[in-house]
């Protein structure tokens, strides 16, 4: 039964995406909405991305220093490992899990409320493809903004590691700098960006799907938001496993 329900839900999701990816009625309206969404979903997420990344960068640095450094280990290992963790997993996958909570629930509750207050019916009655009109700008906006958020996250995480080194004295900024630059691979940055773009699609499309199919009232909107965040998180982790395998081989 669960399998049948899952297949049915997946089918509904595919049908919705088919409606979403259609040519916008008016490009002018689409770009105006996309800009608004870039601000709403992307720019408004910068503070939380910077805040979390800064402290996680600092914590990673402390943990590595305390747990893996030994007289036999080169001093630059802490900086090197901090960089690899930030670039390869934290700033793409973990940051997107956090964004799934912030952005995903926002999208589901916004679209779900529009559904229960008949605003989506109003769009349909006007002859507007409501799925494309509401969802496509969100998907495009977050996919366009996420690389910037990833870069900001890496930068803030690195700054956090530097700050903890400088202000606590657990290691010198010079040792950290050597580690950060040691055998730097540009491809890893690209991997992080590619993964985050895929995750941005999951966050926006899945959250929109849950919001779009809400029926009932505010209670159902709340449930849909929770379900959207749970589904987004699970799908991000699953996609992370596949993409990491594909990109890092």
């Amino acid at each position: 039964m669960i399998l049948v329900d899952s297949i049915k839900t997946f089918g509904e999701y595919i049908l919705l995406m088919k409606r979403v990816f259609s040519i916008p009625e008016k490009w002018r309206v689409f770009f105006r909405q996309m800009l608004q969404e870039m601000y709403q979903l992307g720019v408004n997420s910068i503070p939380i991305v910077l805040l979390i990344s800064f402290f996680i960068g600092a914590v990673i640095c402390i943990q590595l220093k305390l747990n893996i450094e030994s007289p036999w280990m080169p001093k630059m290992v802490v900086g090197y490992s901090t960089r690899e963790i930030l670039i390869l997993e934290f700033s793409s996958s973990i940051m997107c899990l956090i964004l799934a909570g912030k952005v995903g629930s926002n999208i589901t509750s916004e679209i779900g409320t529009m559904r229960v207050t008949q605003q989506i019916d109003a769009l349909e009655i006007m002859g507007v493809n409501s799925a494309s009109f509401l969802i496509l700008p969100k998907v495009s906006a977050l996919m366009a903004m996420i690389p910037m958020l990833v870069i900001f996250s890496i930068a803030a995480g690195t700054a956090g590691a530097f700050a903890i080194g400088k202000f606590t004295g657990i290691m010198t900024p010079e040792d950290l700098m050597v580690g950060l630059q040691y055998e730097f691979q540009q491809w890893y940055i690209w991997c992080s960006v590619i993964k985050s773009v895929a995750f941005a699609f999951i966050i926006t499309s899945v959250s929109s799907f849950y919001g779009y199919r809400v029926s009932g009232g505010s209670l159902e909107v709340g449930k849909a938001s929770t379900n959207a965040v749970v589904s987004c998180s699970a799908l991000i982790l699953f996609a992370d496993m596949i993409l990491t395998q594909l990109l890092m081989q």
Binding site: I125, G127, V128
Partner: protein, 253 residues
Amino acid sequence: MIEISSIYKKFDNQVVLNDISALFDNGKTNLIIGKSGAGKTVLLKCIVGLLNPDNGKVIYDGRDIISFNKKERMLLRREIGMLFQNAALFDSMSVLENVMFPLDMFSTMTYKERVKRAQFCLDRVNLLEAQDKSPDELSGGMQKRAAIARAIALEPRYLFCDEPNSGLDPQTSLRIDELIHDITKEYNITTVVNTHDMNSVMGIGDHILFLADGKLSWEGNKNEILHTDNETLNSFLFSSDLVRKVKEMGMRK
């Protein structure tokens, strides 16, 4: 003109609409009345194409919407204006932007022309002073008026109103009714109103359909409704004290 014939709709095993046929003329305010759960909203949704009937036809000036594909249906809907029960204004936009929205999407007007048209529509419903407010700053009656302005922005050929008076005081209800009636006459559009408000029935009912248990139980106009011998309709009507008194006064004369 809209013609519906033999509309049949059921959900699971419950028949909600059973063989309903009617003709809605231009320039007339057509009312669908009945108790809650009689099938009014389902019928309205079938007429506008938000629901597909299991059987029957919905013909807009010779065009059967049931046989239309999605694209044809979308094009036809641009000729439709609809007032929802809770107004359904877009809360991310100001009142003016709400009214401009259909023009933004489907007209080839310049920005200035679109603003002018939207302001004209707002002025028509006496709401020009609220153009910069957001929908949540408006009272229920003002929201309905703004929704009417949005519905008429593209000069529709068909206007549908779902419970336009719900949640409004009698005086505001009367204003909304008059506005719908005047706009119908002024633009010669086909208007279908779904209501159980007896003041609306007596005020603007040019053509009335009475639904009971999913069936068309009675059809007529506001003058005929007071002299009907349909028992179900009479019991529905006389649940309104106002109508009972009007009928008594009419009989005395």
